[in-house]
């Protein structure tokens, strides 16, 4: 296995990781600030992808599609927050799990009802499609580099938002002490809606960006949702930094596990059996990683709050 291949795979893992981060960041904010476990976050991702595909199909503009995806996901998020989620902040996790499970059913079949049962088409704009040659002679798709860039930029912006701005101070205050910030005169319910909208918009952005290189179809949100949960649990719920590191860890584990585990098994097994056993183990790898992290640190890598 050549160095070039390994570097390329690391880039792939990184790209997968930063896309997961877009999902995980919203989830972890929503959990950290409002104490809400939102299974329907994957549906917002799906909405982003579908709206992007529909808008790109109508206008031909990818930028417009992305803007529309973020807006639509944010609007859906706000609606859901105001109609349903708002009543659940005080409820226990059980009610939240059930209610947002119900939302998944509604969103998935609702989307199928509106857009039909066939996958939609969404393509990379021609300006950023195709491979570029990186130093060292690695050929790598430009679009994936763009994704890495966008993901890291969002991570940096969020970091700045949380640590340096007024709203970030409020968000952090809200994580620590809900009554206190209400007493300080911050309209807590508007703050919650705003955070939910932000999280939803990020999910919509991820859906639109990833939709261009994947299949835009009903049910695309759930696998990503579960991975995003794995990420925030590894990183520690409520921590943006944890979400970023968790995302990249999961992205790298998943990508590199799929490559190297079969190779590893080939050292002491017949190739066909090794291929199959390695692939099986690779598909379990991130869950094993998560189990190990939680057994080692029961509140994740950067989690302070026992939820």
């Amino acid at each position: 296995m050549s160095t070039i291949l390994i570097i390329e795979q690391v880039l792939n893992g990184l790209q997968f990781g930063v896309m997961l981060f877009l999902m995980a960041a919203g989830l972890t904010l929503i959990f950290g600030v409002m104490g809400l476990i939102n299974l329907a976050h994957g549906s917002l991702y799906m909405i982003g992808a579908f709206v992007a595909a529909a808008v790109a199909g109508l206008t031909g503009s990818f930028l417009l599609a992305i803007a529309a995806a973020m807006a639509a996901a944010a609007v859906a998020g706000v609606l859901v927050e105001m109609l349903v989620i708002r009543r659940l902040y005080a409820a226990d996790h059980l009610d939240q799990v059930l209610a947002t499970f119900a939302l998944i059913l509604i969103f998935s079949e609702g989307t199928r009802w509106v857009f039909g049962s066939f996958p939609l088409f969404l393509d990379i704009p021609s300006e950023i499609s195709g491979p570029v040659t990186l130093p060292g002679g690695i050929e790598y798709p430009l679009y994936r580099l763009v994704l890495i860039g966008i993901g890291l930029a969002v991570a940096a912006t969020l970091g700045w938002l949380i640590t340096k701005t007024r709203i970030g101070i409020r968000i952090r205050a809200g994580e620590n002490d809900r009554e206190m910030i209400a007493a300080l005169g911050v309209d807590i319910s508007k703050l919650y809606t705003a955070i939910f909208a932000l999280g939803a918009a990020l999910a919509g952005l991820a859906g639109a960006l990833v939709g261009a290189i994947q299949s835009v179809q009903v049910g695309m949100g759930e696998p990503v949702l579960i991975l995003a949960f794995v990420v925030i649990v590894i990183g520690g719920i409520g921590s943006i930094k944890g979400a970023l590191i968790g995302s990249i860890l999961v992205g790298l584990t998943d990508t590199l596990g799929g490559i190297f585990l079969p190779e590893l098994f080939k050292l002491f097994m017949a190739p066909a059996a090794a291929q199959s056993a390695g692939a099986s183990l690779a598909s379990m790898a991130i869950y094993i990683l998560m189990g190990a992290v939680l057994i080692w640190r029961p509140t994740g890598l950067f989690g302070a709050r026992a939820a």
Partner: protein, 327 residues
């Protein structure tokens, strides 16, 4: 409002009466539906011990359901193909005998619950939800690629397994077996809730510090409850496999975990017959709404939302007041 005890009796009586009527009137599919509801109820009664009594929100109970199912599948597969389960110095044969299958399914589930519970209970809250989910996903992906037992295709068992002295191929007989087990487990559950252990477990959920201060270890109480819970859900899995004469990795999927949880909450958390009411209601919804529209999941979702938002006690909470707390 009626007393919960009366409601429990009515629910269990109806669950028996409808299939009995169906067996007299040659409506075998009604019996199949009732059996399905009964088995789901059993799985949910199991989850309710962890969820309602122990306060452990497990999103991984499909794991035990699946383990029960695969135990049945693997044992029966070896029996029908006349191949030994384990070869070598010690030969273990498959079996078609239900009592043996049940015992093995419960044993394996209990063992799995012990290991998974011991690891998962180091965490709490959302972390617990997620780590149980993760264990479920591990087994899901493992069975998908476990080609010796069919992988994603699953395993078909051609004939229903046997129970001494009973023709299990008669739908009502198999229903009666499942129903009998459900009633046994509910009776166990009713006594269990009032036993010293039930009392301590209840307190461990509400106030772990207090439990520690009287000299008990709340984590150990919860672990035992988790094992009992997993064992019962495992038994339900074995029955479910026998009802379908088929097992597949779907039994391990997180949606299955979600559905078992839905049964509990739909009926009423920590209510003795809550899971039964929930499972029956779900099967009926699935049957009637499914016939109404191919988008029936939307209606199911709306209904669940309404329950969570406006009927916290579930369906049982709507019609029955909680029984006197101590008797």
């Amino acid at each position: 409002m009626i007393p919960e005890k009366l409601l429990n009796l009515v629910v269990l009586a109806l669950l028996l009466a409808v299939p009995y009527w169906a067996s007299l009137n040659d409506a075998p599919f009604t019996i199949t539906l009732a059996t399905r509801a009964t088995i789901f109820a059993l799985a949910a009664v199991g989850l309710n011990i962890a969820l309602g009594m122990g306060g452990m929100v497990s999103l991984g109970h499909a794991l035990f359901f699946g383990i029960g199912g695969y135990t049945m599948g693997i044992l029966a597969f070896h029996a029908q193909s006349f191949t030994p389960l384990i070869d070598g110095p010690m030969v273990i044969e498959g079996t078609k005998s239900m009592p043996v299958i049940w015992a093995v399914a419960m044993g394996v589930s209990a063992l799995a619950a012990l290991v998974i519970g011991a690891l998962s209970l180091r965490t709490a809250g959302v972390y617990f939800i997620m780590i149980t989910l993760a264990f479920g996903q591990m087994l899901f992906f493992f069975t998908i690629s476990w080609s010796s037992y069919g992988g994603e295709d699953g395993l078909s068992i051609f004939l229903r397994n046997e129970f001494p002295g009973l023709d299990t191929l008669v739908p009502f007989n198999f229903f009666a077996l499942c129903y009998g087990l459900l009633v046994l487990v509910i009776l166990f559950n009713a006594r269990f809730a009032r036993s010293p252990f039930g009392l301590a477990l209840n307190a461990a959920r509400q106030s772990p510090d207090r439990v520690r201060a009287v000299g008990l270890n709340p984590q150990r109480l919860k672990l035992v409850a988790f094992v009992i819970s997993g064992t019962i859900t495992g038994l339900a899995g074995a029955l479910f496999a026998d009802l379908n004469r088929f097992v597949s990795p779907t039994m391990f999927s997180w949606q299955t975990s979600g559905e078992i949880m839905v049964f509990v909450i739909l009926g009423g958390v920590a209510r003795l017959c809550g899971p039964v009411v929930g499972a029956v209601a779900f099967v009926m919804l699935e049957h009637f709404l499914g016939g109404l529209s191919e988008f029936w999941h939307i209606y199911l979702g709306l209904l669940l939302l309404l329950i969570v938002l406006f009927a916290r006690g579930g369906l049982v909470g709507l019609v029955a007041r909680r029984g006197a707390a101590h008797d």
